[in-house]
């Protein structure tokens, strides 16, 4: 997971967002990693939508 501009500021301007989080897979990614991402997104929603 990478956060920020991903060296693609013009794209973010075009999309009208300040920064994004990007999740990507590698050959080493496991189901556990995916679960950790889901847990993380849930935790973030809990913090920022409360």
């Amino acid at each position: 997971v990478r956060a920020g501009h991903h060296c693609a500021q013009p794209l973010h301007r075009l999309l009208g967002v300040l920064a994004t989080c990007r999740a990507s897979f590698g050959i080493y990614s496991s189901a556990r990693d995916v679960q950790a991402l889901v847990d993380g997104i849930r935790a973030a929603r809990k913090v920022f939508l409360r």
Binding site: A3, G4, H5, Q9, H12, L18, A19, A36, D39, G40, A43, V47, F48, R50
Partner: protein, 177 residues
């Protein structure tokens, strides 16, 4: 996986500053403006300062970015308003020390910033918390260069420690500015 330290970082006081940033408006009339960016993560802040002599008489902090940088800017708006140049520099330096986990002088009250020192546990985010403060130092520097006669160290009773300021400026490097 535990999110305990995340919870302690995003405390209610931090989220409140993020949702309702203080003095988040442009000033109609200002003496100095400074902007800071963290291009890698997308945080942006613009500070506008109005001075009355050596003192910050009004401040506008226009932030776009993550919760850490906007709340830090909002706290800056609260804390720096009414300070002298030397006091503002000292506060910035002390906050930086706190973020590095170093000892801070007891006489300096960090106020709500205390809640942001939890960012220590997330080294890549320290630059977010520092952005508004580094930008404040830029603004103070350009005000001093602006020729109002108040050169650094020229004021009686100014206890602003020069080396602290230098240290803070050095820190801008590690923040990928």
């Amino acid at each position: 996986m535990s999110f305990g330290s995340l919870d302690s970082l995003y405390r209610e006081v931090v989220l409140d500053h993020h949702r309702h940033p203080r003095k988040n408006r442009p000033l109609g009339d200002y003496d100095v403006q400074a902007s800071g960016k963290n291009p890698s993560c997308g945080d942006e802040v613009t500070l506008q300062l109005k001075f009355a002599g050596d003192r910050i008489a009004d401040i506008g902090v226009i932030s776009h970015g993550c919760a850490i940088s906007t709340s830090s800017g909002s706290m800056l708006a609260d804390l720096a308003d009414g300070l002298t140049l030397g006091e503002a520099e000292k506060l910035a330096a002390v906050f930086r020390r706190a973020l590095r986990g170093e000892e801070t002088p007891a006489e300096v009250d960090l106020g709500d910033l205390e809640a942001l020192t939890g960012v220590r546990k997330f080294p890549v985010r320290i630059k977010c918390a520092l952005l508004p403060w580094v930008t404040l130092l830029d603004a103070v520097l350009s005000h001093r260069r602006g020729g109002d006669g108040s050169l650094p160290g020229s004021k009686a009773g100014d206890d602003q420690p020069e080396e602290l300021v230098v240290q803070l400026k050095d820190g801008a490097d590690e923040s990928e500015r």
